[in-house]
Symmetry: D2
Subunit: 380 residues, 4 copies
């Protein structure tokens, strides 16, 4: 595994835990962790349970005792690591978004297609049991013909204008802001749940706080904003409408300025005979509306997605006992290991990740296009 | 009052009831009801408590025993009635949206400006105590600088493709579909709550069901769609992003195809120090987040807006006892009568209604503009 | 109508409004309002729309132009007024609880049985559409065999120890405290919904604040508690378990000390194949669980009880538009007038009210019995 | 660890995981798992990560390489194992309820008091961050003087009368039914949150389904109920009122027949200046009402208990990312190991567990006492 920050902790837990609860078709050995700082990567390897460590990902990729490379670094390093790993015959699990640009993503998808190993993008929310159930219901036709999607991903950790200028706020590292960090999840889910690709978008990106204090100890950021401050070069909020194939339309919003919303990734899908609604802040629940019920007792059901018949849940606890955020990664490991061992192509594939990347690029292009927004004027 | 359908029943109740619960500065007499069918208008006048009736609105407007004209007809007749009534020196309360076109709305606003009488548009949701409280909190600075709005107005009564082609589905009568019927409320509220006008929009309109059965007994509709069917000439769903003055951005959605959502008019506003959220399906509640609270106990509060200190609520019941939909009209009558009697200009004014109309027109123009939506393509 | 305080306002509105929305089998005329203070009853009559007034209920009962007497006074005067009115051949609608003692209630029930007129108790929550729907579902067998009830009625207006010693806090006027004021509603509803009488109870009553300031201008209360303070002689909270006929068990709580709960009258009923849950703070919703559904999608449904097929709702607004507290009284008038006009016995009858009174008495007796509570001790 | 069923899986995960997320003052080694069936205990040890296994708990207790014994067996074996382990100088963590009888619990508490090792009962819900936060708020006086508790523990897995007669339905193994299995949690929490012991109770126990099919392969159960069926000898539902020290009162309910409630352990506490409410089906949320707020904006706050300042949460994920059921056991291990390593007495102690046991016994005694329930009768 490359990278050992927040995502590294989550992925390590998943690698350590999946085989304890699921019957995996292959044994998992946590061989090596990779990071640039020897002192920190050594400590992280011990803490998270990795048997060895490397300080250069090229060395990691070259090791013969490694079959799978799991990439948990910022987006700007995804492409070189993933392509090298695939070319070295490894199976690759890569965090989302796939890359920072469409060009990088295209190269990665091409590498994946030519590789002997399997590859998958870490859109972990597909592994939330409630969302896997939603997909199951839609695929089974319980919602009829899909017509509308509304997706919001709301956080609030940037509300304070003195929050520092971390790497996620610089385009060269993160590619984009709320759009790629949060919106990418919504885009993947919307396409996954509906089974339809997004074909066009109309977008608005905005940055509320243009400059922020440089993080303690930072140096690499250009302090364009006066003493100790630097420029935010990504979007704080991304809003867009979308057309999917098949006449489906949707509206999307990603922001890190929605005070009081900590991790409100919400999605609602309406079809001709039913609807589903979900909020990851209540991730063990799916709201399901069956429009074929008698009007007298129809209504959104609060399905507590903790039954053994629900996706992934036979491995866990009795009904009514909740699971949490890191379980999505454990499920991801289970699905990835199963796909690798059985030779089936895991999803979301790098091609799926590329499609998300293209939507992200279209959103940016739309937001930058002149004339996209129509002024409110006098009589027309 | 002109018109006696659904809106007429609500308005009649309000005229009958306001003086029973509020101390009005002028007595209300329900003088005459007006409608085209003598048989039906006579029955409605008796049912709703009007002392007389007319079958031609011109006759109504000409009556000297009438001070106020309340217009509850479809949008295509708003302009002629309102302008004539204003020119006849009446005070005018006109249902929303103000008109079907910007040109009509401009003529109405001009008439209002030149009139001796007062005029007001019936955006009744401003009179929901929870929303009046939201405005009070925002005006008092409890949310800090406003940054984002997300507004949804979701209904589902058109999900069935065999629902008939009623007047609301024809542009010549209704002006637009979900956009004007539902979205107009959201637009007015967003501008009212934030205190900011919308300055530009990027929109997508769609019609899911292109043809519907003609209503029983209909004749005037052009049956373009084959035997007994006619074309839907308005939008089924309207989606748009918006820029307001002052850097505020918002996302809007109006639809009558959201299965299971019966009247979900929702609005959330985020500022630099707080947020509010509201859903008219739970209209006695306001969710309020105070971002200045200690992080350990901060959270959206469910404020049950039934305290005597809440707007309008000292007239009603003890705390915890709910009010319903028609109370918004009773409050509207109270505010209108008070404004008329005291000579203060009631809000929302026809100028406010015109601004909403301009936003509606910009949404339509944006949706029709080529190139507004950006295709999702290969490497750019 | 006798009495014109909070309840009088609600009942007046109902008498004024029922015929505007429902097709009543008889016309309603609001003939006379009765209260002891001439100045205040005259003003109230004008405000609420009563054609005349009386200052002695005996005079009201004696009037020949009156067919119906509606009693909205404190509980200690229910019995004499109701019995006199019934003996005078009037139809009687009496607020709940029926009386302050079982003996009074027995006399009233006997008078009702011997009377030519109809009689009904004002347990208005039976007229909440969501609860009428719950009864309909239970009666139709949708919950199977009923097994458990849990009922709470939570308010918080007595939390402040300086809230004054109003009549509701003195046994001679109110009979009991939270028990009769709030618990009576829960008892009636539990018996109504399950169709089973309560047969035994085990209770605990408590008074948290023993003395309170005398209300401004009061004189009749015995100021036993020192200067300007008087003793609270009723319960602040009532808690009890109950056995119903047919093996059903239940748990009840009524309190006016539950901080933050303004009018949380909640009831949940579990049967062998389903459940319902309700909270009057969200009175337009019924939670319904159908245990016969597939486990994969089963869950409590939020039924928005605003469809035309729901009880009472075809008279009101389109789906998703809420009704409020006073509608329960309008529905009560509709049901009472219909029963009177058609000669069918309205429910809840005085006999139903007597049964509630007997439960209230058993609760008090249980709470006063020595040995009812079992001490927690060492090894037994 | 002794026992490897549902609880054993949860405890194993906790022992495996605590040191990965928390800085423990002592290293954890998972030395041996104990169970009666060699085949099954060997497989479980491998699955859950135990280095060895035993088939006799006496052998386990005698091992010198073991410092801590974790007891996850049914209640009837808690006392002998715990006492032997304590006498052997081990530290003991014992699942709840502490025992099946007060006498056993007294012997265990005495053994704990005389032991050199530490001991703790596994009331894991104390380790839910939201409940630990509730305790923190109450201890800090944010609720003022505590007055009322309402606690429900609702499940529905026995609704089906053909669910088999498992050990939890026989008194000789489980001690009691819903009372000990579920109610014990509520009792411990109520005493923990309020800081007050329960001093007396008034109770009702009931069994809805008297006989059930014997489990496949069972033999030990007396088939009193005809061919292949046996008698249920424990309560299906337990309802009781309670008095605590200091004038606090409460109402409790535990049932496994509440259709649609999967694991609804709910508790609400009202004080003179505030309230908290909690439901473990939404275990990452605490509802908090601050009664000192201005009435205009007061309301229950939905505190998402995922901030780093919240108990235990600095070890996990960013705000808004949920944790699940097994985290309570991981927190329990962290607290237990910390207490053992630092020599501070861990809570809940065996004495705390004994107090819960005494309440359970009082509930049973009350339910069996004649005359506890007061019949609803004619005039008294």
């Amino acid at each position: 595994m490359v990278g050992y920050a927040f995502m590294g902790a989550a992925h390590s837990h998943a690698w350590r835990t999946a085989g304890r609860f699921f019957d995996l078709p292959a044994a998992v050995e946590m061989t090596a962790l990779c990071g640039r700082s020897e002192e920190r990567v050594r400590a992280a390897a011990e803490r998270y349970g990795w048997a060895s460590y490397e300080t250069d990902w090229r060395a990691l990729v070259a090791r013969e005792d490694i079959d799978v490379v799991d990439i948990c670094t910022p987006g700007d390093s995804h492409a070189p690591i993933a392509i090298a790993a695939l070319e070295a015959g490894k199976h690759v699990l890569c965090e989302k978004p796939l890359a920072n640009t469409v060009a990088e993503a295209e190269a990665m998808a091409a590498a994946a297609e030519n590789a002997t190993g399997s590859s998958m993008v870490g859109f972990n929310y597909r592994r939330v049991p409630a969302l896997a159930l939603a997909r199951r219901l839609i695929a089974a036709g319980r919602l009829g013909d899909i017509r509308q999607v509304r997706a919001q991903y709301l956080q609030d950790w940037l509300v304070d204008p003195d929050f520092p200028l971390v790497w996620r706020l610089r385009e060269e590292h993160a590619g984009s802001g709320a759009l790629g960090d949060l919106g990418a999840h919504s885009i993947d889910l919307a396409q996954y749940l509906t089974g339809r690709p997004i074909t066009s978008v109309g977008a608005l990106l905005t940055t509320f706080v243009a400059e922020r204090p440089l993080p303690a100890g930072s140096s690499g950021l250009s302090a364009t904003g006066g003493a100790g401050r630097g420029e935010v070069t990504v979007d704080d909020a991304a809003l867009f409408t979308a057309r999917f194939g098949g006449g489906v339309v949707g509206v999307f919003e990603a922001t890190r300025f929605a005070g009081g919303r900590k991790n409100a990734m919400r999605i609602e899908v309406n079809g001709s005979t039913g609807s589903i609604a979900f909020d990851v802040e209540s991730m063990n629940e799916l709201a399901f509306y069956d429009g074929t019920e008698d009007a007298g007792t129809a209504g959104f059901r609060r399905v507590l997605v903790t039954e053994p018949t629900h996706p992934y849940m036979d491995a866990w606890w009795p009904p009514g006992h909740l699971i949490g955020y890191e379980h999505t990664f454990t499920h991801q490991v289970r699905d990835f290991v199963t796909a690798v061992a059985t030779g089936t192509g895991p999803r979301p594939s790098f091609a799926d990740g590329l499609q998300v990347q293209r939507v992200l690029a279209a959103v940016k292009a739309s937001a930058e296009a002149s004339g996209v927004h129509t002024p409110v004027t006098e009589s027309r």
